[in-house]
């Protein structure tokens, strides 16, 4: 490991009266990464984040922040946290509210006032500083809450389902801001059940389901290790012989043939190397043999199983 872990969990479990929400979870969030905590609804994402923030206390295991065994509250000046359940004081003026929230994180009053103004301007809410939160639309309130998460210049920003309930325009603003924060060196940990988003944003991920880790690591590694389920094959000679190999259901579940080119889906438990061997033994000359990179979505469905993927975004694929 060359990079320091900003957040590290080791064997963390949390049980509630009726069920185990998180079971022996270990993960590392590298410094400077955009880290996605992925999983279907009810997988334990929010519980994990709440334990990192010390809102819940784990039943077992350790949580390290910035390389030390300490809790989220001790680091509150360095952490920005956007909970899944959004909420603001509805009767407070926007500016006063932002200053108050920054103060609870240890920021000075005057600095907070300046920073609040700067961020409100940046997100197009400059005219609303003296208005009550009540007067703002829902989207604007979400922006205000996002500002309160990042305005004290934290080193680590934790966002629980940050894109939930945002319209496309605000989602874009949110994404751009997250990316620019990451470029400035802020570590971002966010949870989502929408894989397409995570695929584009994340440099590292952890997929959890039913409270347990399914897979984690840098996104590229996860994809590489998962690989092998899709093959692209191009041939020069022996189309007929290749055809016989493609028909072998113990190796290939589905073949999409174009004469000298084929897209293959591996059979359950089949090894891509065995297919290459079989093709060569059959006297086929292979000019291209590529293990195609699966989408995160595909990985998610493959690893978690369609029955666990209750999120609407993955429902269609799971049935198809």
């Amino acid at each position: 490991m060359t990079t320091e872990s900003v957040v590290a969990l080791r064997g963390v479990s949390k049980r509630f009266a009726a069920h185990t929400a998180v079971k022996l979870l270990s993960l590392d969030v590298p410094a400077g990464s955009i880290y996605g905590l992925l999983g279907p609804n009810g997988a334990g994402k929010t519980t994990t984040i709440r334990m990192i923030m010390n809102i819940l206390v784990p039943d077992e295991g350790t949580i390290m922040l910035f390389g030390r065994r300490s809790t989220g509250r001790d680091w509150s000046p360095r952490i920005g946290y956007l909970p899944e359940e959004r909420g603001l004081y509805r009767k407070m003026k926007v500016g006063d509210l932002l200053v108050f929230l920054a103060e609870t994180k240890g920021m000075g009053r005057r600095a907070a006032r300046t920073e609040a103004r700067r961020w409100l301007e940046r997100l197009g809410l400059g005219a609303w500083e003296q208005q009550k939160v009540d007067a703002l639309s829902k989207g604007m309130q979400q922006k205000v809450q996002f500002i309160s998460t990042v305005m004290h210049r934290p080193d680590l920003v934790i966002l629980d389902e940050p894109f939930a309930g945002l319209d496309p325009v605000n989602a874009q603003v949110m994404k751009d801001t997250v990316v620019s924060l990451a470029k400035a060196g802020t570590t971002i940990l966010f949870s989502t059940h929408i894989m397409e988003q995570a695929e584009k944003l994340c440099s590292a991920i952890c997929i959890i389901a039913r409270g347990e880790k399914v897979v984690d690591g840098p996104l590229a590694d996860v994809k590489r290790n998962h690989g092998g389920r899709h093959l692209i094959v191009a041939l020069e000679r022996g189309v007929g012989a290749a055809d016989r190999v493609f028909k072998d259901r113990s190796l290939i579940a589905k073949a999409d043939e174009y004469g000298h080119y084929a897209e293959l889906e591996l059979a359950e438990g089949a090894d891509s190397q065995r297919i290459l061997e079989a093709l060569l033994q059959a006297g086929v000359r292979v000019t291209r043999f590529e293990v195609a990179e699966p989408t995160l979505h595909k990985i998610f469905i493959d690893r978690v199983g369609p029955e666990a993927a209750t999120a609407p975004a993955s429902g269609a694929e799971a049935n198809g």
């Binding site: 509250r73 509150s76 952490i79 909420g87 004081y89 509805r90 929230l101 103060e103 240890g106």
Partner: protein
């Protein structure tokens, strides 16, 4: 501590800025004046005139003299009905009908028995009014008294002159010295203290409850708890809201002091003449009473605010919280219901007990203190019990609060609540 201060300031500033604060600061004294003055005025002014008939079955003209005496009294209009003794019941029947038609309020039956044995009878629609009956019986008694004096050959004027009404001045002795407070004055002071304590603790306690419910139902509590310890948040909230209460008392105190100081101007402005050139006696408010009041208000408020906060943390909405808070409010109402008993006998066993029990002492002790001499050891004991209870209640409430603010859904059963309290 720095973070607690941030919470205190928010609670204080946001509250003092509201219309609610301004209105209650202005209306508070008005309401309090109304609470005290209206019953007094009502009592003094009396109500409408009573129409009373005197059924005179007497033989020596006493009935007529009684009718005249009643008619001369304020608020009574009396009619004389000379009736032969055997016709009295018939007259009574027709008068009962007139009462039904609201022509008269009632009638007195006077016979020779009245003067001889001191017996008279009144039938009317207003017999349930103690004041009316007292007035009437006093007047009849006076008339009989005069009549009997006349028969005994004593000049009524001489007797009247001999009977000087007593002007009874009562002065409170406190701390081995006579104060300028009259008995009535210290009664009013005790009454005002009770009202301030009861309303203050209840209103500001409920305010704390509302604040907890707001944070919980708006879900902002999760953000707050990620940077503040639950106890920091709770302490800041209770202190901040309590500060608003003290601020309000300070405003009232300063204005009240100015009003008392300039009461001549105030009376003149109200168009009242200053009676006999002498200003009405105002109860002296000794510093000790102010200190006892503030001390018990603060401790009592902390005690109740902590309970209200715990109740709010257990529930999810304002209505649910109000319902659940009824038990807490009952504790607060108890000494208020028994207030008259405490004032009538400030050293009685009920008053002493209520002023020592932690949940009732915040109201009972200052009231007793204002009304009578309280031994120092009782004051110290009450404070010690209250402080102990406060420590215990805060500990339990803090634990319920810590778990409750992040729990949504069904209100916890007692068993679950105990688990919250035990949770490390």
């Amino acid at each position: 501590m720095g973070k607690v201060w941030v919470v205190i300031r928010r609670e204080f500033v946001e509250r003092v800025r509201t219309k609610w604060f301004i209105i209650s600061t202005v209306l508070g004294p008005v309401l309090m004046f109304a609470f005290i003055a209206v019953p007094l005025i009502m009592a003094r002014r009396g109500t409408r005139e009573r129409a009373v008939a005197v059924v005179d079955g007497t033989s020596a003209g006493f009935g007529q003299r009684l009718a005249i005496a009643l008619d001369q009294a304020p608020a009574i209009r009396a009619t004389w009905l000379p009736t032969p003794i055997d016709q009295i019941e018939a007259a009574a029947d027709s008068l009962v009908e007139m009462i039904g038609l609201k022509v008269i309020d009632g009638f007195v039956i006077a016979t020779d028995e009245a003067v001889e044995d001191g017996r008279a009878e009144y039938r009317g629609a207003n017999v349930s009014s103690p004041r009316d009956m007292e007035t009437l019986s006093n007047l009849i008694e006076e008339a009989i008294f005069t009549e009997r004096l006349g028969r005994a050959g004593v000049d009524a004027a001489v007797v009247r002159q001999a009977r000087i009404p007593l002007q009874f001045r009562t002065l409170k002795v406190a701390g081995s010295r006579t104060t300028s407070s009259s008995g009535e004055g210290s009664f009013i002071l005790a009454y005002v203290l009770w009202l301030l304590l009861y309303m203050g603790i209840l209103l500001y306690g409920v305010n704390v409850m509302g604040s907890v419910v707001e944070e919980k139902s708006s879900r902002i509590v999760e953000v707050l708890i990620s940077s503040l310890r639950p106890f920091e948040l709770l302490a800041g909230k209770i202190i901040g809201v309590g500060g608003v209460g003290l601020f309000q008392f300070a405003i009232w105190g300063v204005f009240g002091a100015i009003m008392v100081d300039r009461r001549e101007l105030v009376f003149r402005a109200l168009g009242e003449s200053v009676p006999g050139g002498e200003l009405p006696a105002f109860p002296e408010v000794p510093l000790g009473t102010v200190l006892v009041f503030l001390l018990f208000f603060l401790l009592g408020y902390f005690l109740y605010a902590a309970m209200f906060a715990a109740v709010a943390a257990m529930t999810g909405s304002e209505q649910e919280a109000r319902q659940a808070a009824n038990a807490v409010v009952m504790l607060l109402v108890l000494p208020s219901v028994l207030m008259i008993g405490i004032l009538n006998d400030p050293d009685g066993s009920m008053a002493v007990t209520l002023s020592l029990i932690p949940f009732t002492s915040p109201i009972a002790m200052p009231v007793r203190w204002a009304a009578a001499e309280v031994p120092t050891n009782e004051l110290v004991m009450a404070l010690a019990f209250l402080a102990l209870a406060l420590a215990g209640v805060t500990w339990i409430a803090g634990r319920i609060y810590r778990v409750g603010i992040l729990m949504y859904g069904k209100r916890p059963a007692l068993g679950e609540l105990l688990r919250w309290i035990r949770a490390a």
